[in-house]
Amino acid sequence: MGTMPVLSRRTFIFGSAAVAGGVVFGSYGQAQDNPASPGTTNPLAVDLGPDSVAFNPWVEISPEKITLIAQHADIGQGIGSIQPVMIAEELDLELDQFEIRFAGPSPAYFNTGFAHEIAPFMAADQSLEAEKGRAAALEWLRQSGLQMTGGSSAIPDTYEKLRAAGAVARETLKAAAARRSGAAVADIRTEAGHVILPNGTRIPYIALSAEAAKIPPVTDVKLRDPSQWRLIGKSMERLDIRAKVTGEIVFGIDRKMDGMVYAAVKLNPNKGQPIRSYDASKAQSMPGVQ
């Protein structure tokens, strides 16, 4: 226990100062500089609706709703639930207060967690070579923009990144509320999707999206101590379990697109043999066959 090179790894991942008790996420910015991939743009900034804000590649708030982005695309192992939970932990959201969307392709979502997998060193190895190896692997991942799910890398990749994404969103919303109300940020709290002013007024996050979009994201955030966690590490109902149990969930095979047709493959029953002749007339005579 406790042998993971936590601090040095943070330094690798974020290139930021690791201070006792907290980490400064200097680069969890709005767009150009996101921590996962310096120099890439925030993919959410491209199609952002009016009065909406995307604090980073994982949190988008519009006047209507809060959307959390799951960059690891998995439907079976619970990653689809735990990714938004890590954001919600720091952003003070209840589990029914957001929608989840899988990320589109973008270098911003490169898999930092995979560096530990592909560098040929044991996890406990903190030698200089091991650290250098991991740094090199990480740099390769960053430059190739490798966005992938697998190898048990989802949590190593997102454990800090997503909590930081939530914390940045929370602090920026508080700053927006401070600007609107004149109250000091230090006296403003957040709870269950609301910013709470010193006089008790509760402002829903969605009502602050337009103002939050106008200010630079607050990036010097500290992650909460695990003793304060409400969600992480606790049993929870998977966020998609009801849709799976009612049959509502949509799998690839359930999608219908305009003009879509189905194709059926007929294999030569003799393995490896070419086609000698092909007669589609019987198939074509069936109803619906084009």
């Binding site: 799976k244 149990v245 049959g247 949509v250 799998f251």
Partner: protein, 153 residues
Amino acid sequence: MFDIVVNGSRHQVDVVPEMPLLWVLRDELGITSPKYGCGIALCGACTVQVDGEAVRSCQARMADVAGKAITTIEGVGNGKLHPVQEAWIEHQVAQCGYCQTGQMIQAISLLKTHPKPTDEDINEVMSGNLCRCGTYERIRVAIHAAAEKIGGK
């Protein structure tokens, strides 16, 4: 033209008599909860109820089920969750979920014939419903839990 009654609603479909019920439901009626897994009665993903019995819809010809009462997972609870669905949620059975509508339909039919099933009953009746994610252990626990819910009512 065939008459088909799904979850209490009557529909007319213009399909060939040998069209499998699975594709009538999915492609003609847009009811996608029954899944296509193998198409040859080996996996159970397509299981629906026909007149209250679990049937592999990939092997049921339209002509043979015309006029019969078809029930998919949407129809098992009459607007509420069926106790089997509740148990499936409480025990977090589903991983990807692809096989699970078929599993639940099969489990509901099992509980009709075996209101207090043993592990052996469960193994026997559920063995034709494959789960690529390997949720069998939880399926068994959830079936026992559902049996208790139904018995206690």
